[in-house]
């Protein structure tokens, strides 16, 4: 089965979703990511969804869930690069992903993550 790769960069984990998400993939990602956060004791997770152009309510909820789980495991999560069409779809579905940090692109997302982690460590 396909899996979405999770890259480690210092104390951060980087997930870039480059393929169309389907339900199994999302569930696998949820499992892998929580596992990795725990093992690497990561301080932050960055999920880039700039290649994702179709979402449904399940994937939308999964994104929210993954972010919430990471928070429980004491890692800040930033979702970056959401496309306008995806954002509109999520809002129309009533999923505004409260509590998930967002950024326009990976660079800004990384800056935001550093700031959050620095604030937490301070």
């Amino acid at each position: 089965m396909d899996r979405i790769p999770i890259l480690k960069m210092g104390e951060y984990l980087l997930v870039t979703i480059q393929v169309d998400m389907h339900d199994q993939l999302a569930l696998a990602l949820q499992e892998d990511l929580t596992e990795r956060i725990n093992r690497e004791r990561a301080a932050g997770v960055l999920i880039d969804i700039s290649s994702l152009d179709v979402v449904d309510s399940f994937i939308g909820r999964m994104i929210g869930n993954i972010a919430a789980m990471a928070r429980v495991l004491d890692a800040n999560t930033v979702v970056t690069g959401m496309r306008p069409a995806v954002a509109i779809t999520l809002v129309e579905l009533g999923l505004s992903l409260e509590g998930v940090h967002t950024a326009l692109n990976v660079e800004r997302g990384m800056a935001l993550l550093r700031k959050k982690v620095a604030a937490r460590n301070a």
């Binding site: 970056t80 959401m82 995806v86 509109i88 550093r114």
Partner: protein, 291 residues
Amino acid sequence: MPSADPPRFSDLVAANEATLLADWMKQQKAARGTRLDLLGESELEDQSRRFLRAFRTALATGDLDDVSQPAWSDVRDFLREVSRSRALQGLKPAETALFVFSLKQPLFALLRGALGNATDRLALDTWQISTLLDQLGLFTMEAYQQTREEIIVRQQQELLELSTPVVQLWDRILALPLVGTLDSSRTQVVMESLLERIVATGSEIAIIDITGVPTVDTLVAQHLLKTIAATRLMGADCIISGIRPQIAQTIVHLGVDLGTVVTKATLADAFAVALKRTRDAAVSAQRDPTT
């Protein structure tokens, strides 16, 4: 019932076309609703003459009961054209319908003159002509209404295109001055163009200025909140500005929860906040040793 040989109605009209036209013109000019200032006498006469010609041809060939028959297609086309041009000229419905209805009296006068003694026939023909003209009048109104609807639809589209400019105020700061009521179709357009511009300019802050929004009800507030939520999902922030005192009152009275959205009284205030935030972000990025 048809006695000796009273002339057929279509022949009557054909024979007396000139008199009819003169009478009809007199009738139209005398009627209160005729707008000679907009139409012009020569144009009105030309329209009347052309209508009579088409009317006569249709009478000769078609039956008098149903104007949706193919025989009446010329008359219908002409009436459609007339009501269309009148609708575009800004005439009122009554003034447009008058064109056909004012023909009744001259026609009845003609009938009375020709069939004075044959009362049965006179009553029958009068009834027939009356229904016929009513049908034509209704058709005129339908065409008029249709033209007006076309105008309205076109204007709505123009409004939709005109009313959603997204302007870049500063590096990473966008402004969206909203003018007019927000309905769902407009919100969709506004949302799309705002999000597209956020991506294109890499902006972090969007200022939504609602100075030009006349009223904010729960629906408008919901549309605003949707736009803000979508902007946030993209990784940008929204500031609402231009909330007038009455609107602030309505928002609170309606129990609309603007939540964590930053609101400012004027666009200038919002701009100042936005500038401060982007500058702070830049400064902290510079200081950050890991960057």
